[in-house]
């Protein structure tokens, strides 16, 4: 791309329209448009392609009359109301626990040593795909899992695994726990990012010098300042938790499952007429998420209104002792459970004989690995290909858009930011079917390129999230002095900006790669079931396969993003080992 740009921009002046075209290319005017198109097309076409069948229109199965029949069938479908209940309970509870514990934790423990420990421990959990974490948690919670082994037989008296619904419980509590463990690191990271941009320390010191306790000072002067920056991430977590499929298949109840899983099963049913009912269910899922987001928004307004008098009411302390303990315990527990889950995956992948209630395997073996290396290796290769391609294109597009901002001297509007978050706010199940119909219309479904496109959609928001702050914070005088030294914008970009941004850029790549590795529904829908990644295989195996086999796939699934993350941290450290200013601050 850059090479092409260089060739298109010779020095000598030419005709006016050509000149304008060249200037527009030079400014990267195409970047925002192409980026917007790449993710608005799948979402808008996908939503439309789901809404139409929801109201009876799906020519592919010979239905062309608009009707409410799919909705009647949906509400008559066995278990729908309990499915909605499971979705709401697990989604709201998971989000609530994650959000409240993280906010309380930061509020009460920001000045305590435990804060640093948890911060360091939580970041790696961010890279672990949802499915791998859910499988590990299932190994922990199952009647024959580590949790029960720890208590048996001395406390419970069980010599054999009991017949209890400890996971896949009918209320979706295990699912809620899984969601809380997985989403807490993301929310913590977002909170820390918001804190670093709002002079939190100075605000806090000002309030504390006025006699406010650290906890209440944080709530009164820091939280109101950072909440606007936490809103979008929080909405994304809520939308995700209410409509998650892969984690819900592994940890959620089975009869009836959560709404998203129920809808997903209807979409996969061999009876094609059920597609219409599924489409209605997917639209219902969209409605539930929208309703929840609106309710949350209303709640925010209400709190903002009623809290005004409290903010200036002069109250200087509140549960300063117990709040840190509760929040610290909650976050430590979810962190601990997260790590225990990962550890269990590794143990099971090397375990051979491991009978209840032993805490460790009696015999170890590499057989699970050698038996499954061919199939797991192939899936890993597909995962790697899709992840590398979608992460690279997402980061390239984000960089092109940000560079366009710099060259054309424009800033992204708040509206554009919300658009960017759209793939994270609209439930996947609500538009992926329509997107698949669109792809199959052009005979594109099942192609690797389509899967990469579907993944790109979900990588883009994270690429922007990871890159926009570092990019905009870069001292603009570096680019200016580069230009004054005779370097073209292209040369300044490749030789000055990109090397200075190497660290955040590699982190963005790693984040996007992790996002891609974790995708389940987009792989299935866009790949028409033909692209087998570690995630699709692991989720498929979770229904009843041997634990050792499952562990091998889950470990590989978790290992890929972790390896990429490690590399993204190691590469700049190695390249810039003799560049002191590159190690601290300026480009990180």
């Amino acid at each position: 791309m850059a090479g092409a740009l260089r060739q298109l921009t010779p020095r000598s002046p030419q005709s006016a329209p050509l000149d304008a075209f060249r200037r527009s290319l030079q400014r990267l005017d195409w970047a925002p448009g192409i980026t917007l198109l790449l993710f608005l097309v799948p979402i808008s076409v996908g939503l439309l392609g789901t809404w139409l069948p929801a109201f009876g229109y799906l020519p592919a199965v010979g239905r062309e009359a608009l009707s409410l029949e799919p909705w009647r069938q949906l509400f008559a479908y066995p278990g729908v109301s309990s499915a909605i209940r499971v979705s709401l309970l697990s989604g709201l509870l998971g989000t609530g626990v994650a959000a409240v514990s993280v906010v309380l934790f930061v509020a009460t423990c920001h000045h305590r040593p435990i804060f640093r420990v948890i911060k360091t421990l939580l970041s790696p959990l961010l890279a672990i795909p949802h499915a791998a974490l859910a499988i590990g948690l299932a190994f922990l919670l199952a009647p024959s899992g580590l949790g029960m082994r720890l208590l048996s037989p001395w406390a419970t008296g069980f010599e054999r695994p009991p017949d209890l619904a400890l996971m896949q419980d009918p209320w979706g509590l295990a699912l809620a726990l899984g969601l809380a463990i997985k989403e807490a690191p993301f929310l913590l990271l977002m909170t820390l990012g918001a804190l670093s941009q709002s002079q939190a320390e100075a605000r806090l010191n000002a309030a504390r010098s006025l006699g406010y306790g650290p906890f209440i000072a944080w709530l009164k002067v820091v939280l109101p300042a950072i909440y606007p920056k936490l809103r979008l991430p929080l909405y994304a977590v809520l939308a995700y938790s209410l409509s998650v499929v892969d984690m819900a298949i592994i940890l959620g109840p089975t009869v009836p499952p959560s709404l998203a899983v129920l809808v997903f099963r209807l979409f996969s049913d061999p009876d094609l007429s059920l597609r219409l009912v599924a489409a209605a269910g997917a639209t219902l899922q969209l409605g539930i998420v929208l309703g929840a987001l609106l309710t949350l928004y209303a709640l925010e307004r209400l709190i903002a209104l009623t809290a005004r008098s409290w903010l200036s009411g002069g109250q200087r302390s509140a549960v300063e002792r117990s709040a840190p303990a509760v929040a610290g315990a909650a976050v430590s527990l979810t962190t601990l459970l997260g790590y225990a889950s990962i550890l269990l995956l590794i143990l099971w992948s090397f375990a051979w004989r491991w009978s209840f209630p032993n805490l460790l395997p009696e015999t170890w073996s590499l057989r699970s690995w050698s038996n499954h290396l061919p199939d797991a290796g192939a899936a890993a290769l597909t995962t790697l290909t899709i992840g590398a391609a979608s992460a690279t294109s997402a980061v390239a597009l984000a960089l092109a858009c940000l560079e366009h901002e710099a060259r054309a001297n424009v800033r992204m509007t708040t509206a554009a930011l919300w658009l960017l978050y759209l793939p994270l706010l609209v439930p996947q199940i609500a538009f992926l079917f329509g997107f698949q119909v669109f792809l199959s219309y052009f005979a594109l479904d099942g192609m690797l390129l389509s899967v990469i496109w579907a993944h790109l959609l979900f990588c883009l928001p994270y690429a922007f999230l990871a890159l926009s702050e570092p990019f905009r914070r870069l001292d603009p005088r570096f680019a200016r002095i580069g230009a004054c030294l005779g370097a073209s914008p292209t040369r300044v970009f490749w030789r000055v900006k990109l090397p200075l941004l190497l660290r955040p850029m590699l982190i963005a790549l790693a984040v996007c790669f992790a996002v891609s590795v974790a995708q389940y529904l987009p792989t299935l829908f866009a790949g028409a079931g033909r692209s087998m990644t570690l995630t699709t295989e692991a989720v498929a195996l979770s229904a009843g396969a041997n634990r050792r086999t499952l562990a091998v796939f889950a470990v590989l699934q978790a290992a890929l993003p972790v390896v990429v993350f490690t590399a993204s941290l190691a590469i700049p450290a190695l390249l810039y080992r003799n560049r002191r200013a590159m190690r601290s601050g300026m480009s990180a």
Binding site: R480, C484, G486, A581
Partner: protein
């Protein structure tokens, strides 16, 4: 090697949202001459340099011309102008070695072995012999300032702009670096424009001094 360049600002006036920052400015700078523009912060000194470099922010409007060697360069992109600039901070690229920083300034037309010969000659002239492979962050403030000047001179500028380049240095060092920069600017016969709020800078430059007064709303002030 020393061509006779000249820089002229012809009725240059910058304005921010319709309000002119200073009265139209008309200055001619001959080769080897150092003109000082003095003004309080906010008087538009740095914006003036931005305008000459071609990096004026979009929200500012400019009138008048910049003539470099009698040619209007207002329509050229920053990288085509051959205008050298030094800032308060040395702005050596932190990811490159000292020598790579200097080589960044060299035009592409100088190739191969010649590049490194010119870089090492420049390092010698700046008293930085043997420091080419060092990390810029490990140099002293004075060494960095000299390296930054060398990088700018290697880019073969036709004029030199100095944006308060001495204000962050401590007093003892300021004196030495100032002399070093001025000497090299005169040696290279560059028309030089210095903006500063330090009268000592103006005295040391020994050339014409122009005062930028912020225009009052009634727009009364002239130079």
């Amino acid at each position: 090697m020393t061509q006779r360049h000249s820089l002229r600002l012809a009725d240059v006036c910058l304005s921010l949202s319709q309000r002119p920052l200073f009265a139209p400015l008309d200055v001619s700078i001959a080769a080897g001459e150092i003109v000082t523009v003095m003004g309080e912060s906010g008087s538009g000194k740095s914006s003036l340099l931005n305008f000459i470099c071609g990096t004026l922010p979009k929200d500012m409007a400019a009138a008048g011309k910049v003539l470099l060697d009698e040619q209007d360069i207002s329509h050229l992109t920053p990288e085509q102008r051959q205008v050298g600039i030094l800032f308060q901070d040395d702005l050596l690229f932190p990811h490159l070695s000292v020598a790579e920083n200097l080589a960044f300034g060299l035009p592409r037309s100088i190739r191969g072995q010649q590049r490194w010969e010119q870089v090492s000659a420049a390092l010698n002239r700046a008293g930085l012999t043997g420091l080419g492979r060092r990390d810029p962050a490990t140099l002293s403030g004075g060494q960095r300032a000299r390296a930054a000047l060398m990088r700018t001179l290697l880019s073969q500028p036709r004029c030199l702009l100095l944006d308060e380049p001495f204000s962050k240095l401590d007093t003892a060092l300021r004196e030495r670096i100032r002399r070093f920069v001025f000497e090299h600017a005169r040696q290279a016969a560059l028309p030089t424009l210095l903006v500063s709020h330090d009268p000592e800078d103006a005295a040391a430059a020994g050339g014409q001094v122009v005062h930028l007064h912020p225009t009052l709303p009634q727009d009364s002030e002239t130079i």
